[in-house]
């Protein structure tokens, strides 16, 4: 066996020791959660201070003034906080769903809307707007309810097409079905718009731009059970997502139940997206820009990327909404336009940088 023995002493043998041992994952996780969590909380506390009426932070939290007389506190908590909170949960949901779907599809360019969920949601919303459907359900008013139904319907169609009992999902069927369903629903949306009158069409278009102005806390509370369920599932996924993004078969030989993880990932991200879209409309680019930015900062390990993206997504969308409220004040820019204007060029830059 001399041919092989000789290579043992050959090239490649300038072997430097592993300089710095990698930082333990536990320490990285704690640092990440503290840092990004702080960023999200601080953003949410600062955002309500910005607006047409200037208010002071110290007066808002001045306990000596009763809430009834504390105008600053009322503006902070009643007028502006619901919107900030909506931005935070929607941003967190879309960014996390983006991370999960990118790993599921093994495609860094996937977004929460790739699988047709947003188009289904939009169709639901538009039908509710145009035909004034008077259905409501618990805390949901007609439009958010129809949105949710549309989103879940679209997700179920894609899911049904891409799964076979006991088998791993076909990610290419998932992608193709999602993209096709997106354009099919978009055509239906155009058709409904074409048949609608001008006011309805304007409302529809405005809804499609995305809007966080939800008026009170109750829509957020209504979406919360769905979001909590989705996030509970997200928390179980990260290490499996790492293995899945390296290769499905490889993951299976390392003890991952691939079919189960794929299903959980699909259902949880569809739920989170549906809840987010029913709250605020289809706000684009959060689900792709945030995960990529976060990966540039913390690396690609999903156990770090997922929590970091949730917090960063919250901060990002709240900040974008502050820009949307103030940049052309008193006129408000739809927040979806702001995220797209920031996100579009960034996305192109990412693409160019890759090739």
């Amino acid at each position: 066996m001399s041919a092989f023995d000789s290579t043992e002493a050959a090239p490649e043998l300038v072997r430097a020791a592993v300089g710095v041992p990698p930082r333990p994952i536990r320490a990285r996780l704690v640092t990440t959660v503290v840092a990004y969590g702080t960023l999200a909380v601080v953003t949410c506390l600062l955002a309500p201070l910005v607006g047409s009426t200037p208010i002071s932070f110290s007066r808002v939290f001045d306990r000596s003034i009763p809430f009834i007389d504390n105008v600053d506190a009322q503006i902070f908590f009643v007028a502006r906080m619901p919107r900030v909170l909506a931005g935070a949960v929607v941003g967190a949901a879309l960014a996390s769903a983006g991370v999960v779907l990118q790993a599921l599809l093994r495609n860094p360019l996937a977004t929460p809307f790739t699988l047709g969920v947003s188009a289904g949601a939009a169709l639901g919303a538009i039908l509710a707007i145009s035909f004034g459907a008077a259905i409501s359900f618990g805390p949901f008013s007609p439009v958010p309810f129809a949105t949710l139904v549309g989103a879940i319907l679209a997700a179920s169609i894609v899911y049904g097409l891409a799964t076979k009992p006991g088998r791993a999902m076909s990610t290419s069927v998932l992608l193709l079905a999602g993209v096709t369903l997106n354009s099919f629903f978009s055509a239906l949306i155009l058709f409904v718009q074409y048949m609608s009158d001008f006011t309805e069409t304007f409302r529809t278009v405005r809804w499609l731009m995305g809007d966080l102005d939800i008026g009170s806390f109750s829509p957020v509370l209504g979406a919360l059970p769905l979001l909590l369920a989705a996030f509970a599932v997200f928390a179980m996924l990260p290490s499996s997502l790492n293995l899945l993004s390296v290769g499905a078969e490889q993951a299976a030989t390392r003890g991952v139940d691939v079919a189960r993880v794929q299903r959980l990932a699909f259902v949880s991200s569809a739920l989170a997206t549906a809840a987010a879209v029913s709250l605020a409309g289809p706000i684009g680019f959060v689900g792709i820009v945030v995960p990529h930015l976060v990966r540039l900062m913390v690396g690609v390990d999903h156990r770090i990327v997922l929590p970091a993206s949730a917090f960063f997504g919250a901060a990002f969308l709240v900040a974008c909404d502050v820009v949307a409220r103030t940049v052309l004040a008193p006129v408000e820019v739809p927040v979806g336009v702001v995220t797209a204007m920031l996100g579009g060029p960034f996305f192109l830059w990412l693409l160019v940088r890759k090739s």
Binding site: T7, N242, G247, R303
Partner: protein, 264 residues
Amino acid sequence: MSLHSRSVSFGYAHEGRDSFALHDVSITVPHKSLTGLLGPNGCGKTTLLKLMSGILTPQSGMVDLSGRDLASIPRRELARHIAVVPQETHPAFDYTAIEMVLMGRHPHLGPFRLEGPDDLAIALEAMTATSTDHLAHRAYMTLSGGEKQRVVIAGALAQTPEVLLLDEPTASLDLGYQLEVASLLMRLNRERGVTMVLATHDLNLAASLCDTLVMLRGGRVLAQGPTREVLTGPMIQQLYDVEADVRFHEDAGHLTVVPVRRVP
């Protein structure tokens, strides 16, 4: 650990009909052996490897891991016994080499347990054994083909398996890297007693590395046994329809195969 397939059959459904990839395949992979799996394209090598790693389940027959039915072993436990090295690995994200290797610890951790100092030590030791420790913090995607394959092997070693299944691990590597990976496999087999199954098209690689060979043609076992007994000119002709000159190479210390001509 020894691995046996007992009368295993498996087919892929194709246009509603099952087209069989493997018919009644019974092979034996002895404990601590380095077994080569040879055969022409489409003969069922990869399918057999997938059945032996538990990715696929046989439609009839069974795979036996030291006396236990493979299908009855929970997948996480199975992954602690058997690791797989694919031909190529293309992660969707830019993991570092050490992150790739640490993923091999997955079957030893619960769903919420993060790897600790012990896991890190095992991963670094696996990287030292594959001479990739100096690459620990490099991005996997920026490594050369040979380095990538050695990192993937390190990840498989981090699973601390008793059995390693390799599907043409050197197919995309140049001659130098082929030798490097081959000598690494031989060392791991000898020093650590890892049982290995190696599917390959490279007869000279098989001749130099493997003590046992299994020859598959058309989904059936054509021959199996010690390398020096089954790696013969007539056997190769039956296997590939190629006339070959098989000789013992004094300097290399093993059989060598020179294909001469295709026979109809």
